[in-house]
Symmetry: C2
Subunit: 388 residues, 2 copies
């Protein structure tokens, strides 16, 4: 494997110049669940803090569907703070003065890790839909190879929300000896019918855009309209009804009365348009197809003849599960299912449902009870593992 510059492919770096991170290209093939292999492949990642001499203070942060490795540093395309800036940093709940935090872009992503926009070595052109359909387990396998390369045998903690939480659960199942503690937030051990349905609407919106062109668009106009519609639909599911009502209600945008037209009369419409438009500047439509598919395919119990507890039979990790009362995308009962499966294996598990009206996105926001829970759990993990 070789250290390479991170090939952020979509846009020039925002000013002021941001850290575009690191990347490792592996010559060892990555064996995928679909039966194919990926070789060579690149994992783009960021680290925050310092690995201690015992190599025992590493925390892997796993990102969600549209996240990336820029958890705690300025995003090189948007120039915005990292997606978990509230959580990760010096003195924060995931304290980079104490812990060495790694966050890598998932396989299938579009921020430097190998994905559908990457060059297919067989053709010299972007994979597009020739890229293999990857799974959450494939993402985790690739992360494990990254940790090998970084010389990290065991994680003090693996954490993440939403799809990040799926990866956390998969880590505990696939690599039970490499995980001291696991902290999944706002997640599920399987994607529900409603979750799959919303994802399929997004994919159909992308594939309905003539600019998608069967996935072959890298040298021409991207399917921006379709991707924007997909993002808008998804974005509604990230917020609670109460949060939308509180933030926007029926307030009008820059006008005193309704226009009797189809422009953005309501603030909530204007907000959705903005979400759609800014998303297409930083995300690849084919990556959206692949990553949503990985989430749809996730059904951890399915790999264990339907018995979720069996996924955790070898784990020695201490777990902390966090859900949010108003999250209707990954609601508390789905998180509780995981807790019950862990209970059935006599695993060490605590479960916290946090009162919040902010919906699924609560895990990304300033929720004091969440931040306190994470801080407390990591303090205990550090003490138990002899970390100062």
């Amino acid at each position: 494997m070789a250290q390479t510059a991170n090939p952020v492919f979509l846009r020039p770096v925002a000013e002021p110049e941001a850290d575009t991170g690191k990347a490792i290209t592996f010559s060892t093939p990555l064996a995928l669940d679909c039966g194919r292999t990926l070789s060579p492949f690149t994992i783009a990642y960021m680290t925050y803090g310092t690995l201690n001499a015992a190599r025992s203070n590493a925390i892997l942060v796993c990102h969600a569907l549209t996240g990336d490795q820029f958890a705690a540093s300025r995003h090189p395309i948007t120039g915005k703070p990292g997606w978990w800036d509230i959580m990760v940093g010096p003195g924060k709940a995931i304290d980079t003065d104490r812990f060495f935090v790694i966050c890598s872009n998932v396989i299938g992503g579009c921020m430097g890790s190998t994905g559908p926009a990457s060059t297919d070595p067989k053709t010299g052109k972007p994979y597009a839909l020739d890229f293999p359909v990857v799974t959450i387990r494939d993402m985790v396998r690739a992360q494990a190879m990254l940790l090998d390369a970084l010389g990290i045998e065991k994680l003090l903690c693996v954490t993440g929300g939403s799809m990040g939480g799926m990866q956390v659960l998969q880590w505990a199942a696939s690599f039970p000896d490499r995980v001291a503690t696991a902290m999944p937030l706002a997640t599920a051990a399987r994607h529900s019918a409603q979750n799959i349905a919303f994802h399929e609407v997004g994919r159909q919106a992308i594939m309905a855009d003539p600019d998608w062109n069967g996935g072959q668009y890298y040298e021409r106009a991207h399917p921006a309209k379709g991707l924007a519609v997909a993002r808008m639909a998804a974005h509604i599911t990230y917020l609670s009804e109460a949060a939308l009502q509180r933030k926007f209600g029926r307030e009008l945008q820059d006008r005193d009365q309704i226009s009797f037209g189809f422009g953005a009369d309501f603030q909530v419409e204007s907000y959705l348009h903005h979400q759609g438009m800014t998303f297409v500047d930083r995300f690849d439509a084919n990556s959206y197809l692949y990553i949503t598919r990985a989430m749809d395919y996730f059904d951890l119990a399915g790999d264990y003849k339907g018995v979720l507890a069996d996924a955790f039979r070898d784990t020695k990790a201490r777990f902390c599960l966090i859900s949010f009362t108003s999250d209707w995308l990954f609601p508390t009962p789905e998180n509780k299912r995981v807790a019950h499966a862990l209970n059935a294996t006599a695993a060490n598990v605590s479960f916290v449902e946090i009162e919040s009206d902010k919906g699924h996105d609560a895990f990304l926001l300033d929720e004091p009870q969440m931040l306190a829970t994470v801080r407390g759990f990591l303090n205990a993990a550090a003490a138990e593992n002899g970390i100062a």
Copy 2:
């Protein structure tokens, strides 16, 4: 005004031949909330049962967003039973052996009433986006003119679910002397931020389709892909998460294992595709824009300086409000808001929340408690109004 044949515009009539209904074209202009007038305009409608000599047994059934006048008879395009066949018919809860039921296609619709696909008399071509943006109140005004034409001064009952329920509330507010009883189901006195957001996603999906062409598509390919995506997104909101999980779960469609591709692996995907594809055969994309907009604009209290109770200050109607526990699109609290406003005016109101896991669509389905409630309420209304 003149009796005309109902110009169902989309497709030939299904076999066996269905009743395509009646239509009246009015030469009196319809004054609209936007300040424009519509003239001439046509209302297409169906009637079921017989008007009694006293003209006192008429029930107006108002349809929802994608409904039409075919409440209790075979649909002329799809050949399927009427959308409220479970409710309306001889011996049913809305008993056409006793009551005279009228159901008309809303203004802005596409099943014969004047809408964006109708010919603009100024140009001789379809209105398309030159059609005025109509409101729920405009729909109700047009229905009142239909009742005038049919010689019906007062309704024994006005009823309907979802957007139909909005019309019911508007009837009670706009024509308090013409409504003896009102029975809105699964509705709200205002469209919420989340409701508007979902509608905007659907509109953006339609308008992103190049075949939409600024609304000018009547003589060429219709924006079928965009309309199908809009329908798929909306359809998810009509069902509860529990209903989707129970009906489909993670069951695969015609295969033993996942395909590692982007086809319809899951039954829920196949179901959504079917919903999208069949919808475009019977619905006009521009009508979808106009009718969703009418719903978004609906805020009954807004016409009364924000005091919802004032909308009902002149009503003498007896009300029966029905909501469903798992309806997250028009949840019980929105229905209760209406009940509270009616209570504040000392109106005669009963409110029933029905236990159902079927989501918003419950009002269209075989819910025994709903059917019993409707039957009981109409029995009482009939007795009070001297109807056998």
